[in-house]
């Protein structure tokens, strides 16, 4: 598809809500590819660069510190609340601006947001992740960054997290949603 060609917003919304593959993933909230465009694989390197920036930010702001997470859950420090809170506010303003000015991606594709459906997993899964977060002192992003900083044993935590995701996929139909 030519990047010069204008993609209508309505058509893109239909792709996001009626596309079968997207329906399969709809429970899965976010972290997905919402673009209809197909590019050569090496286009993905720009996401690696974005990841590098994110990894540096996580490390330098000490979000990957087990101690900072313990302080957060003991209300001993404002730091983590400041990081997450100001990130959310910045994200909200950005999304509001994208919607208001109908900003498109660099490939001229409309940016459309689809509402997520509430399900019990948000609570049960959320609590279980919270348990794990307090133990490992890391959510998924920091797990990757910690490995990068040289804490090699965290590779085991990451493999275990992959196993956890697999076990969820295996028992998914039997779990309350």
């Amino acid at each position: 598809m030519s990047t010069k060609e204008t993609i209508p917003v309505k058509k893109h919304r239909e792709f996001l809500t009626e596309n079968a593959d997207f329906e399969v993933r709809s429970l899965d909230a976010v972290c997905i590819n919402e673009s209809e465009l197909r590019h050569p694989w090496w286009y993905n390197f720009k996401y690696a660069i974005a990841g590098i920036v994110f990894g540096i930010l996580l490390t330098k702001s000490e979000v990957i510190s087990w101690f900072r997470i313990q302080e957060m859950f003991r209300l001993q420090s404002f730091h983590m609340y400041g990081v997450i809170g100001s990130a959310i506010v910045t994200g909200m303003i950005s999304v509001w601006l994208i919607k208001k000015y109908r900003i498109r991606s660099i490939y001229n594709e409309p940016i459309v947001f689809v509402n997520k459906k509430m399900n019990k997993g948000n609570i049960y899964g959320g609590l279980l992740f919270g348990f794990g977060w307090a133990l490992t002192g890391a959510c998924p992003g920091p797990l990757f960054a910690q490995i990068g900083t040289g804490a090699t044993v965290i590779i085991i935590s990451l493999l275990s997290a992959i196993a956890g995701t697999w076990v969820y996929g295996y028992f998914r139909e039997k779990l309350p949603h």
């Binding site: 399969v24 429970l27 899965d28 976010v30 972290c31 997905i32 590819n33 919402e34 993905n44 690696a48 974005a50 990841g51 920036v53 994110f54 490390t59 330098k60 702001s61 979000v63 990957i64 510190s65 087990w66 900072r68 859950f73 003991r74 001993q76 400041g82 997450i84 100001s86 910045t90 909200m92 950005s94 999304v95 994208i98 900003i103 940016i111 947001f113 997993g121 899964g125 609590l127 279980l128 992740f129 919270g130 348990f131 794990g132 977060w133 890391a138 959510c139 992003g141 990757f144 960054a145 990068g148 804490a151 965290i154 935590s157 493999l159 275990s160 956890g164 995701t165 076990v167 996929g169």
Partner: protein, 187 residues
Amino acid sequence: MLEWLKQPWPWYIAGPLIGLMVPLLLIIGNKSFGVSSSLRHICAVCIPANIPFFRYNWRNEIWNLFFVAGIIAGGLIAASWLSGPASVVIHSKLAEELAGYGVTNIRDQVPEDLFNWQSLLTIKGFILIVIGGFLVGFGTRYAGGCTSGHAIMGLSTLQWPSLVATISFMAGGFIVANLLLPVILKL
């Protein structure tokens, strides 16, 4: 400048920059910011085992794997060239509590006293490293996202399920950190 960069970055610098990942990923390719889905894609690539949850065209999602590979590299760059000599300053009450469990080395962001290859074979280390990791992977997927996908991306787009999930993350963390972790650290 470099000396300043080597200090820990304050929340009011790092937080907004982390928030800018949301519009950045949307604008460079219409991607929703999030990390935990990468774990699902890794399952889909390596061990799909004919489970419907892992049978999808993961090639469309490969951007997310490039993103997390970048996070590893970012951690490496920050630790190699942007780290200062200062040790992590932690709250005196936490330091005191941890010293009671024999955790006195607070130099690194990942506490060496708890997370090392030898501790993997102890009950305490196994719970923190293996069980903790398992709960992170199982819980995030069950909840449909993690701190990035729900708390930051989800709340930025005003999604109610993300608010419920974020409150649940915090509730779970408060329970384990205050009630269970003291017992585990005594093991």
